[in-house]
Amino acid sequence: MLPELVPFYHDRDSKKHMTFVTISQDICHWDMMLRFDTLKTTKRVLYRRRKRQGGNMIVKVSNLVKRYGDLIALDHFKLDVAEGEIFGLLGPNGSGKTTAINCILSLLTFDKGEIEVFDKKMTPSSYDLKKDIGVIMQNVAVIEELTVYENIDFFCGLYVPDKEIRKNLVKEAIDFVGLGDFTKFYPKKLSGGLLRRLNIACGIAHKPRLIILDEPTVAVDPQSRNNILEGIVRLNREGATVIYTSHYMEEVEQICTRIGIMDKGRIVAMGTNEELKGMIRVGEKISIEFLAADPKDYVEFVESMPYIAAVEVQDRTMLIKTERGHNGLSTILTELQTKSIKVGRVYCELPTLNDVFLEITGKELRDGKEK
């Protein structure tokens, strides 16, 4: 007997791709998926709009080389980010994302290459450029002895000298990150999620045109992570161009209009989410739980079905990859029913950026391990 399945559409326009979730899944998970869906729709609309506008290049990086002794951290790294984009820089830990960002910001020296921001060469003393850049670093950078309000006001004050203007900006930033009830709190009294929000508020209060976020959701709970991601989309909607680095592919998929996948100091693939996934062979990934029978006994049987790219077994679950452009779920389930095989949970998902990364580099995206 098949469990009751509820369809979840990844793309509401075409309704082409769907995921079945069992009714046993909890409400929170369902709610989160809906939120992601909203974000994705928003970003697509934005991306189409920006494309129509033509988009000036806000950041141009060419042939950037950065060495730490014998280690090449950036190997002829290239990057173009257009105005209005949310550009995602995705890669495992140690792939060079943070180094690239630090070089773009002129925090780090580099051996070779050119960096332009707002069509001007970026140098450590490019103060006219820096005033339009907001940075949210991976580590929380706030002053422990100042309250939430004071922290935001202090960092905003480094960009905006006028006290009256700053007052409004600080208030807006506080409202934006939802820290209105915590303005008099000291950072050590804030939870990890609230602290991250404060970190973001300190970086964006001066309303920069370019916002660079370096893994802002590391060690953040799911609810705060959603708030942060929604906030980034809102900032983009208000006119900011965003560069977002992460090793969480789900986040990048959700909010980024264009994605660059990094490995060993260079970008190995770049494009929209769909474009990147179109580069690989896998169409769908199907996971079927066998309740009674041993899935190993049916590997050959499934492999013999049409458009099956690969079959693996993990404990009592069979993992099946179909070829791109072919949906095999209903066929597989029907065939298994003919053999009277009882199945439990069934999942079907589209290829992820991890699959893209795996196919391009031979490694898992999340931990960078060779596969």
Partner: protein
């Protein structure tokens, strides 16, 4: 922009409990402990004329040499200040004993065939009286022998005795009473000034992108970080200065430590000490790439070593260190700070004071120059 950063630096530093503990609370606590430890010693170091009695016996009336000697040490002269003894004659032993019992005199002398000293307790006054009578007995014995051999030299010898006794009382010739305790308190102030290093170190770490995330954020602001650093340092120096003034106020008004009455110079010496302390910490912060813990350790170790050599633990160390290695008097900032207060208190001229203060400001400039050389770079090879 200066005031924006200055005011927030003031706020953040004042609220930093650890910093305030080391720069203010710890020296105050240590000063209080000094106060408790030295409370029984303080009275002994201040010299007052000693009230003594003499029983007017027949032997005493006949001993003109002793009478002359007593008169000599009981007489005030311009160079020696107050006399050593104030002598009261008593007609009988009972009267003298009563005066001693009543506390009117520290002791009395009764002469028969020899001198007898009567006291009720021990102390500096009694020790001096004992030393005096012992010395007189020895000297008179020697003189008697000389006179027996050469009678013509008697008057000359009597004069020599008087001069010798006058010489003994010359220890009171300075304006301020000698007080070893002051060395400890001055060294304590020096230590407190050097603990301003914690403030200096914090300011450097706050703006260095390769040391703290906050530094990275400040580095990315559209401002020269040296300007931000300068305003932070001004705030740090002000906090340190106020801390030192509170400490001096506490020592002066609560523990009754005498700093003399040259307030302007005291403020100047304190300011020079604060500048040196804060700049020293900034230099350690800039030069070392180690973590905050290591830097704190370096600062505590060096500050304590400097303060030790300035006499914080053993007053005599200050003199011995400078005697063994005279250059220490000029290269140890803690010694310079302590010695500035010392020079103000003991000397009527300002040569030594201004030399010390000049060296302190010189060191501050040197330390800041080193900090500038390290911090002037705008970006880093690694973070």
């Amino acid at each position: 922009m200066f005031w924006h950063n200055f005011s927030y630096s003031l706020k953040s530093n004042v609220r930093d409990k650890q910093l305030i503990f080391w720069t203010l609370a710890f020296p105050v606590i240590l000063g209080s402990l000094f106060g408790l430890a030295f409370s029984n010693l303080s009275g002994t170091d201040v010299f007052d004329t000693i009230q003594i009695g003499v029983v007017n016996t027949q032997a005493y009336q006949a001993d003109t040499a002793f009478q002359t000697t007593l008169a000599a040490v009981s007489k005030s002269d311009n160079t020696a200040g107050d006399p050593l003894f104030a002598v009261t004659q008593y007609a009988s032993l009972e009267e003298a004993t009563k005066a001693l019992t009543d506390g009117n005199i520290s002791g009395y002398i009764m002469e028969d065939s020899t001198l007898h000293l009567y006291i009720r307790s021990s102390g500096l006054n009694q020790t001096i009286m004992k030393e005096f009578t012992d010395w007189y007995l020895q000297a008179s014995s020697a003189v008697s022998s000389i006179v027996a051999q050469n009678p013509s030299s008697a008057s000359e010898i009597s004069g020599i005795l008087s001069k010798n006794i006058t010489y003994i009382s010359e220890t009171k010739s300075n304006t301020n009473a000698p007080n070893d305790m002051l060395t400890y308190y001055y060294a304590l102030i020096a230590m407190a000034c050097m603990y301003g290093s914690f403030l200096g170190m914090k300011q450097v770490m706050t703006v260095q992108a390769n040391q703290t995330p906050t530094g990275a954020r400040i580095h990315l602001a559209p401002l020269n970080k040296l300007k931000i650093f300068a305003s932070s340092l001004c705030a740090a120096t002000l906090i340190q200065y106020i801390s030192i003034l509170i400490l001096i106020g506490y020592l002066a008004f609560v523990l009754k430590i005498d700093f003399g009455n040259q307030l302007g110079y005291i403020l100047l010496a304190s300011f020079a000490g604060c500048c040196t302390g804060v700049s020293f910490g900034a230099m350690v912060g800039a030069l070392s790439k180690k973590g905050e813990g290591v830097k704190t350790g370096i600062i505590i170790s060096l500050s304590m070593l400097m303060s030790f050599l300035a006499g914080l633990m053993v007053a005599q160390v200050k003199y011995e260190a400078v005697k063994s290695l005279p250059i220490l008097a000029y290269i140890n900032p803690a010694n310079l700070i302590a010695d500035s207060f010392y020079a103000l208190y003991y000397y009527n001229t300002y040569g030594r004071f201004f030399t010390n203060v000049g060296f302190l400001f010189g060191f501050s400039l040197l330390f800041y120059f080193i900090v500038f050389l390290v911090m002037r770079r705008q970006n880093y090879a690694s973070l």
